[in-house]
Symmetry: C2
Subunit: 301 residues, 2 copies
């Protein structure tokens, strides 16, 4: 069974790790949100791609779920001496990643090409595509701070400003291979990522929603017992829909794109539902959920 998976950062990366553990490299293509990408200290940073790369390579910090294990912040300490911006904490190991990517982009290499090279460099065999090679930015209209880029809202303002609307600025071309991977898939999996700021940016690219709609698609709920496993999703659902956060609210957001959803046991069944454990505490959990979701998806084919 060939699978294409749409993913954001931490939660999505865990499910991808599970899928990579149970699927051969030829059978999985991950398509990763780049709407959060931004430039800091002159470096091109792709938070979700990096979280996926660090997770799949095993180099990631298992505790935090993002960043690299054993990270240090020595370059940052010098930048602070010079009075530079330090609200975004870039680690020394992490800097190596951003430097290689930024230099490649400056030379004219595409984000797809340098991403493929970097994933290979850290030993990831499964195919991971950035959603787009172009600048495509997730923008947050807030009630108190006007329009913010995702990172300014998420990191600098710590998600405090209430969200009125999420929209996408820039070129809507998907990266080479994205639509093709969806067309070649037997099953599309929507990882347990934030639908508004991690999955919608991918779905909003030219031809992507249509390609997903044409395939059996299952999502894993990012909401467990009424709360987001991680991040600001719970509050966003309420701010954007007026409803309480629930797996059902996420399913309603995706609408008829979904053929099924894996939800935490006892979280109820808005659509055809697999009740299972969707919290991934360790790598064994990730592979177990991946197997559950694949079997669930296979039954829908």
């Amino acid at each position: 069974m060939k699978v294409a998976a749409l993913s954001g950062g931490v939660g999505g990366a865990k499910l991808l790790d599970g899928l990579a553990a149970v699927l051969a490299p030829a059978d999985l293509t991950a398509i990763v949100n780049t709407g959060d990408d931004f430039v800091h200290w002159g470096l091109h940073i792709a938070p979700d791609l990096d979280t996926v790369m660090y997770t799949l390579s095993g180099l990631g910090d298992q505790q935090r779920g993002w960043g690299l294990a054993g990270e240090s912040f020595r370059a940052l300490s010098m930048v602070e001496r010079y009075g530079g911006e330090s609200w975004f904490q870039l680690g020394d190991l992490d800097l190596g990643t951003h430097i290689v990517r930024t230099e490649a982009l400056a030379r004219g290499e595409t984000l797809s090409a340098v991403t493929a090279r970097m994933f290979r460099g850290v030993g990831v065999e499964h195919r991971v595509l950035p959603m787009s090679d172009e600048r495509r930015a997730t923008m947050i209209d807030t009630t108190s701070h006007g329009t913010l880029t995702f990172q300014n809202w998420f990191v600098r303002e710590r998600t405090a400003p209430q969200v009125e609307r999420v929209w996408f600025d820039g070129d809507d071309a998907p990266a080479p291979g994205v639509v093709e991977a969806l067309a070649a898939a037997d099953l599309v999996i929507v990882a347990p990522s934030n639908p508004y700021v991690s999955i919608d940016p991918i779905l909003a690219l030219r031809g992507v929603r249509e390609a997903v709609a044409a395939k059996p698609t299952v999502a894993v709920s990012p909401i467990v017992h009424g709360e987001a496993v991680k991040g600001p999703l719970g509050a966003m659902i309420t701010q954007l829909t007026g409803r309480a956060a629930s797996a059902a609210a996420v399913a309603a957001h995706y609408g008829d794109l979904l053929d099924g959803m894996a939800v935490q046991s006892a979280d109820g069944a808005p659509i055809r539902t697999l009740e299972t454990g969707v919290i991934m505490k360790d790598r064994a959990d990730r592979a177990r959920l991946a197997r559950d979701v694949l079997a669930f998806g296979e039954a829908l084919l």
Copy 2:
């Protein structure tokens, strides 16, 4: 007495440290070679400015004479994983410096402006000017490898290719304040740096040689008992002049720009000479030599 000092990296930085210890901030302007500046990993690196900054701030590695104390190379380890260039060893702390500079230059700040800001950031009160705000590159014609940029010759090729000629590529405008500082000086001091690749790049800028010639000028010999204190100068003198390395050969190179020279005891007197100890083993040595040179210069006024 107002002093302007021309300097390259390690040896020059030590003398500047001594001068800064005995002269008030208003009485010393250092003019530092930027002909070795280069771009690596997309970052603007200014080796001599950084060596001077790290030395004057006390943050430098006292043992090596360049780089920062307690440096680590973790970003480099990641760049190597991705297959990036690693022949130039950039440290994590050092990266903070290059990131701040590169970002400022990309925003349109001049090298002079960001240099002033960075020196203040690490607590240096004496005035240090880059020789130029423009790209001005020291080029090495070699007998075996054609023309190399200074860094490719110095770091990548480890100074092995024999030097035929040194020349300077790019804009010959000095940075704002350079000619003015020389015009305002009572005494010009040429630090114990490589005359061909550290001092000549400064002297070759528009109006600088004339401004130095108009002032009493003393040099500190970078050659001691027939050998360079550090670096490839000994071999360069022989390759470029056919003479053995000596303080006299350095004095001959500067010609009538010099009114006097501080040389190591027993190294002979090509011109009006102060015999002293020119090897700076510690900070006390630096201040002692600075005092000797200032007194020697004062006697020439």
